[in-house]
Symmetry: C2
Subunit: 405 residues, 2 copies
């Protein structure tokens, strides 16, 4: 897998743009993004499991029911959720895309992110469409990535190159995360593009499966958002042999590329969690099965107490044991070993469920890095899992006490 | 139900004390508590469901297996959990209680609370026993309540009086809460005393059932502690007709008293959550069944995003809908109504799952009180439930980033 530049415009035949249209008051913050493929492509999406679903999700779901899409339009600053006229407004966004960009409204993926329960003003979007479409370019990925950001502090934009039957293919992604992040079968906003030729059914299978081990293993605050949506459009421009089965070498290679990019997205979202100062990774090994490993890893990265200790780079490993202990799975707590690790080294803090002596200074040095890892060994089998979270800081409280003001 | 003074010493035949023995460095903080009944009584207890269980839980469980207990000894400052010699140390505490207070070691309930994974020093306890036993008095409830506090800012001490078959009975409680609070079938530390005559089996049934609607409906931070323990000793000194069935008027009256006191304890623990500035109550009504009502209420009070908004007295009701939406139960989100209420008034913010216009100023005034209520109406049936939590503040982060230092 080779990292390349260009984000969602790295795959052949995709253009993107991002502008400030006025949904946000801050004129220096882009708030409207557009992604357009030269041709219609296979499409797949996975959505939030929250019962409260943003209106754009209903419209997108209908639009890609036939397995195809050609464009994505997304605003930030307003979630268009819990509004009586939500679906009407989401449809208007698709109609505007048809009118200004020439893509059929039924082939548009529409998304919104921001405050819940405030009526979405359509005028700024309508007024911004000319500028948005004029700005479409194969260099536009960064602007689009910027336009979908809310409290994110860094742009999330990735692309990689891989080969299918001798043909070079590309896969790109932009994403936003930061708060209300506890994906459950779907997550946040992430838009993927690829020039690989692949059927929408197979694309959906790959997307759904990859998400189980990537985005669904991230938690910032335990709150599953109403507007989570991950979509992918595959326009086939790479000219590879059409993938129409979720098996075989080409599928595996495509799956590996998708997993590679989604792992990057997941780590970036965790590291840029609201208020976060460091990425907290939990690697569970030696579990008797995958489900157990995942439940333990998720439990550790979700603990508010541990997250606060990690903010202070405090090796309060009892909180790790506590979080492992309330993980809803069957395993022997008396076989658990725990290490703390980072690029500065590794220290054993627990063996067989009991504490062992360690140097607090060394542990502090390890935990002071901006990416730290909690290694948990179950000593009961061969399954493993990784989950990603972040520390809990004063800034998380500040951001979320201030969010609407 | 009549509120009375005296806490755990309000029931006839109970004495208590609390001293500083030296487990904590701060000499002005009591760290060792003792409760003794003149005679052996029926005993019942409910413990944490965390797989990591404090060593004192194993010893207490064994000691009250026969249904009887006469004393409670508890230290703060050290949880005696995840230590190889944990059970030995807990047994030593019981042996010291026998040696100094004359209560058989096998009739002692032992508990510890504080940092996990640090070896419990027995010397300070041994050295403090004479002072602890000398201080035993029927005025000692407050000292004992103080001695079990960790990051709690207020003492939790309650008592009430009720009548069983013409005999006046009393029920008292002390408790500690504050952090690592997300009870699951058991919780934190709470020691109850009563002079009612009741069998240990019936006592256990009442305790277990009451906890489902009281302590198990509290969450401060989603972390289920390793040392949660609620115990009750009933010494029969009130002279009422012995209750040996979990039915009938006397049982119902006893149950009501227990529920009354445990509701007070639950509210107090939520309101004094680590760093909290206000109590956040969620009342769910009109659900199709009790389980659904409880799941929705719990989901609302556990949302970190909502907790941060409540800290800012910000009527960000979209976060309430979001938390209701990811509650793991079956109900129609489009029938949900939500009000915000406090002693300053009540304001409707959501009807049929959609936002309604309201005065932000009025909502701010309501949410600025130190006890606020989120009222959720499901409009699907007659079941209701209440859950208690608190806001998420800078101080929660400060306290938990500093806890071991």
């Amino acid at each position: 897998m080779k990292d390349i530049l260009g984000g969602i415009c790295a795959p052949v035949g995709f253009k993107a743009s991002g502008v400030h249209c006025g949904i946000r008051k801050n004129k220096s913050k882009r708030d409207l993004a557009l992604i357009v493929s030269d041709v219609k492509g296979s499409a797949a999406a996975v959505y939030t499991t929250n019962k409260v679903k943003g209106a754009p999700i209903a419209v997108t779901r209908k639009n890609i029911e036939d397995g195809f899409a050609q464009a994505v339009i997304c605003n930030s600053g307003n979630a268009n959720t819990c509004n009586e006229d939500g679906e009407v407004k989401a449809q208007m966004m698709c109609a505007l895309t048809e009118k200004f960009a020439g893509v059929r409204a039924e082939d548009v993926i529409v998304a919104s992110t921001g405050v819940i329960g405030q009526v979405l003003p359509i005028e700024p979007i309508e007024n911004g469409m000319t500028q948005l479409v004029d700005a479409l370019s194969s260099d536009g990925s960064s602007d689009a990535a910027e336009a979908i950001m809310t409290t994110d502090t860094v742009k999330k934009e990735y692309a990689c190159e891989f080969t299918l039957g001798g043909k070079t293919c590309r896969l790109g992604a932009i994403a936003k995360g930061s708060g209300m992040i506890h994906p459950n079968m779907a997550t946040l906003l992430c838009f993927l593009t690829t020039d690989a030729a692949i059927s929408s059914e197979v694309l959906h299978t790959a997307l759904y499966d990859v998400i189980q081990d990537t985005l669904n293993m991230v938690s910032i605050d335990g709150d599953t958002s109403t507007n989570d949506m991950v979509t992918v459009i595959a326009n086939g421009k790479a000219g590879n042999a059409f993938i129409d089965k979720a098996e075989g070498g080409d599928y595996k290679q495509f799956y590996a590329a998708l997993e590679y990019i989604m792992t990057k997205v997941s780590r970036a979202i965790a590291k840029d969690g609201e208020g976060a100062t460091r990425l907290m990774e939990c690697k569970v090994s030696g579990a008797k099965d995958k489900a157990t490993a995942k439940i333990i890893a998720k439990s550790v990265i979700c603990s508010s107490l541990l997250k606060a200790a990690i903010f202070a780079a405090d090796a309060n490993w009892g909180r790790i044991l506590c979080a492992i202990g309330y993980a809803d799975a069957q395993f022997d707590i008396n076989k658990i070993d725990v290490n703390l690790a980072s690029s500065k080294g590794i220290v054993a803090v627990c063996r067989n469920g009991n504490g062992v002596e360690f140097s607090e200074d060394e542990a502090k040095k390890i935990l002071s890095e901006d990416e730290i890892c909690i290694e948990v060994y179950c000593n009961e089998g061969n399954a493993d899992a990784v989950a990603w979270g972040c520390d809990l800081t004063y800034d998380y409280v500040r951001i979320n006490a201030d969010y609407r003001t």
